[in-house]
């Protein structure tokens, strides 16, 4: 049985989404609710559909990882919930620049605490194509980063988040995804639309305690 850290509303959201979205994820730390869909229309007024997103935080080992602790993995899941079956969406995903996070404490104050040093590599930006009624899960965290379950909680977005062990406070983590055009040209297929917009993902309630683990 999964034991998820979070408030009751969030747990309800997670319960609704886990069966489909993360049935294979055996070490879920947290999954946010879906954001509001953001539509996209082309200049010729063609309806290109809408995109919504959510955040997944997992304990797992990816193929290249061979450390003594599992990785803490963060994924942004995007879903094309529109009806424009003939107009797949091209989305530029830059996990460093287009994902912003804000953590607040129980008093709604922004927490600026540092997340620690590091080395290694971070996922590179890329274009993804999302057809109608399709989802995609995109790696949004440092490769090879992971904190043992009893040593606090690490959320290794580019601006790392760390909640120390023994910290009994509860925090709210809000992540936004803003898709913009990259500095270089991108040639889409004629039928495709380039989706640009901002998704504000529902906040996650997090703490450092063992309740963040299964």
């Amino acid at each position: 049985m999964r034991i998820l850290r979070g408030t009751l509303p969030n747990l309800l959201v997670l319960a609704a989404s886990l069966t489909a979205a993360s049935a294979s994820d055996t070490n879920v730390i947290a999954i946010s609710g879906w954001s509001e869909p953001v539509p996209q229309a082309r200049a010729d007024m063609v309806d290109c559909g809408s995109v919504r997103g959510r955040l997944l935080i997992l304990y797992a080992d990816s193929a290249n990882h061979a450390s003594r602790h599992p990785e803490t993995q963060v994924y942004l899941e995007l879903q094309n919930v529109g009806k424009a079956v003939h107009h797949p969406l091209d989305i530029y995903f830059d996990p460093r620049g287009s994902l912003q996070r804000e953590m607040r404490d129980a008093h709604d104050r922004i927490v600026t605490r540092g997340g620690g040093p590091g080395s290694g590599i971070f996922p590179a930006p890329c274009w993804v194509t999302l057809p109608c009624d399709a989802s995609i899960r995109l790696r949004a965290s440092w490769y090879g980063y992971g904190m043992p379950r009893n040593q606090g909680l690490m959320i290794p977005l580019f601006q790392n988040v760390f909640i120390r062990p023994g910290d009994t406070n509860e925090y709210s983590l809000t992540v936004t995804f803003t898709a913009t055009l990259p500095p270089t040209n991108h040639v889409s297929s004629p039928e495709n639309c380039v989706w640009q917009g901002k998704l504000t993902l529902p906040p996650l309630k997090l703490s450092a305690g063992g309740s963040t683990t299964q």
Partner: protein, 786 residues
Amino acid sequence: MLTNLPALSGSRPFIDPAGYASRALSSLTWTLVDATGATNTGDGMVVAQGWSISDRYHTTNWFQCVDLPLALGTNWASIQATDLAGSVAVTNFYYIFDTNGDTTAPALSLTWPQDGTQVSGDNFTVQAWMDDDTAAVALQYTDTNGILQTVSGLVERGGNVWVPSVPLVAGTNAFSLLATDAAGNVSTNTFSVTQTNAGLTISPIDPGLLPFAYAAVGGTVDDPNATVTVNGVPATVYDGGYWQVDSLPLAPGGTVVLQATAQLSNGATVQTLLTQQRDPMVFTQTYGYELDYSLTGASGTNTFEGHHTQLQWARGLGGTNTQADWWVDASGNVSSNLAITVWPPDNGYLPNPNLLGQIVGTSYYNGVLTDTTTSTSGVPNVEWMEESTSAGAGTWPEQFQTSWTESSAREIHLFTGGGACRQSQGLFDLSASLNYETQLDQRAYDWYLLYPGLAFWPFLSSASPPAAVPPQQITLAGLGCLDEHGKLWTMQPDGSDLAVTPKALSAMSAFPALAFRALAPASRAASTGGALPLPQKRKLVSYWAASVPANKARTTVGVGEQVLVEFSPSLQMKARWTTTGGSLSTNYATGALLIAPSNAANVTVTATVKRKTDRIRFTVLEPTGIDHAQITDTNYYSLGTAGAGMTVTAWVKPTSVSFYRVSIMELGRVSTDATGYFANTNVWPAEFLDHGLFGAGWWLPLGTDNSTVDLAYSGPCDPPWSLGSFSWQVPVIWEVGTSIDPTNRPITWNQNQAFTIDSSGTVSVQKFGYRITRTTNDVVTVETNL
């Protein structure tokens, strides 16, 4: 009989046994069992043959076998020679390869460019010579990034050394040329070259003209008032800066060298050098014929008539043609004519049509000179036959009393093309055809009628219809007999010149004494069934999957690299492939895919075709560390935040190979040297000292250029700030592939990632020889070469 290995011991890793046999050879092979027990075999070559116009079979044949690879210790070698009658002679000997006591470094002399030369262009070729052609040569220089580069040179048998495509940058370029022999003795020749903006170019010679001894050579020079020489020969400089030498001598061999020097009008001297490789070719080495006959009692009088014609031509020596005839009338008066043609020496593989023979003709009457004429003659051209020797005296069908002899010969050679580098060789499929000649004696009367007023044809004519010699009866000098398809496969070293004259074994048996009666009904000879086709040379080549380094022909490779090995041009038959290391997939139409082993090794891939083997040898290297690195980004934190970071691209060495199938891993270690701020767990959690939690333990695949990207950063450092430092020791392991259990992998190199902070929040991060320091005002400084 061996003639060049008197000591049967030495400190060089190859031997080239040479010697001679007392008769013409039909095949020559060698076998070597080295000191490790490994067996190598190869084809030898007949490099020269004694020339007897009357007996071409009992002549001395000089042979050579090259590149017999030795192992340290006692090596056993055997040379097997078979003559045209099938008799086999074997010479066995032991050769001791021992480098102990060899303390003499190779004598290395720089040919071009000399120290201080001003060279035009952005790259150049180094030419040198050394007295040990088994030594290795390398050129070292420091590139524009400050990285010491080492480039291997090519060494030809005989000692010529080449280092092609050496990059030049503006200003003075310093180089070290090193020669290292098998004993480890090193010679060093340092020199510098100055790149000049003054343009001086040499246009490549049309490859079709390279077989000749002379060629027109041209190029350009920026200064139209310059004087230009090529290989020391003055050129004519035309308006616009084009220069040309109309007839430049070209030295024989596989590499044609053109070195141009321009004396500019401002007093400066600029040089450049161009090398070109000659392609394989079949050419005539020597030929000649001789005809003597006399007639007596012609028309029932006492008139006597005699004729003598003799032509001899040899590559490198030129030739002479002597034609003499004389007669005696019924009164006893003697008239005679003599014409002597002299062709100048011609070192080309094909006779130069511009080297005319000079003819001096003289006429005498009773010993008194009556007339002298001079004229010229083109290239002598003798239609070839294997053997045509007759001698006799008898009655002509038209009652002439005659005695006469005639013979002809021609020696065909194969030049294998390319530079004569050690163990660089090619697979040749040679073909030839011969026709029996049966009409020798029946044509004698025709000669008399036709000579000298009409075209004279002193040789045999083909049977009608032509009677072909079975291919298995045709031998190509020391290379053996053709197969049933009329082909002969041989593996021969590049840059070699060997005899391939076709001979018919059956014709040999028809001429046991090689002196026979002219009218003997059994007399037969053989002539070529047509011109010998151009030789087809195939080389074993490799196509590396990695796009970097650009050298696809390299034989030094990274662990795990994949390469397709095949013959070029491709074979229309399957070869048998084996390898001494790594794995080999032969499910390819034209070659085999080698996957280099996952550890350092020397690997030999062998292809066997028609019992001929070719080998390509690879040196497999492992990653050894970081070659160099470059910062690409330092923009990590916002104004007011304490912290520093850098994105670094680092290249794993050696960069002369590709490690595109290699992954490296930084092993996580906990810092044990934290001080001050970083030891204060109130501001810096203890977890932050454990590299294993922050990026270590990840298999990072390398790019084809061996690059990897690393983001090394401190993270935001929360106030209050104070002096402090800590470091991560970073052992690095590697493996071919990913998802490998790192537990038992050896640590190959160690690196370090170090952090400091001061009381103002200025943070530094150091890694890969860089240190980036950043203030809270976002002032970033980078230090290098740490």
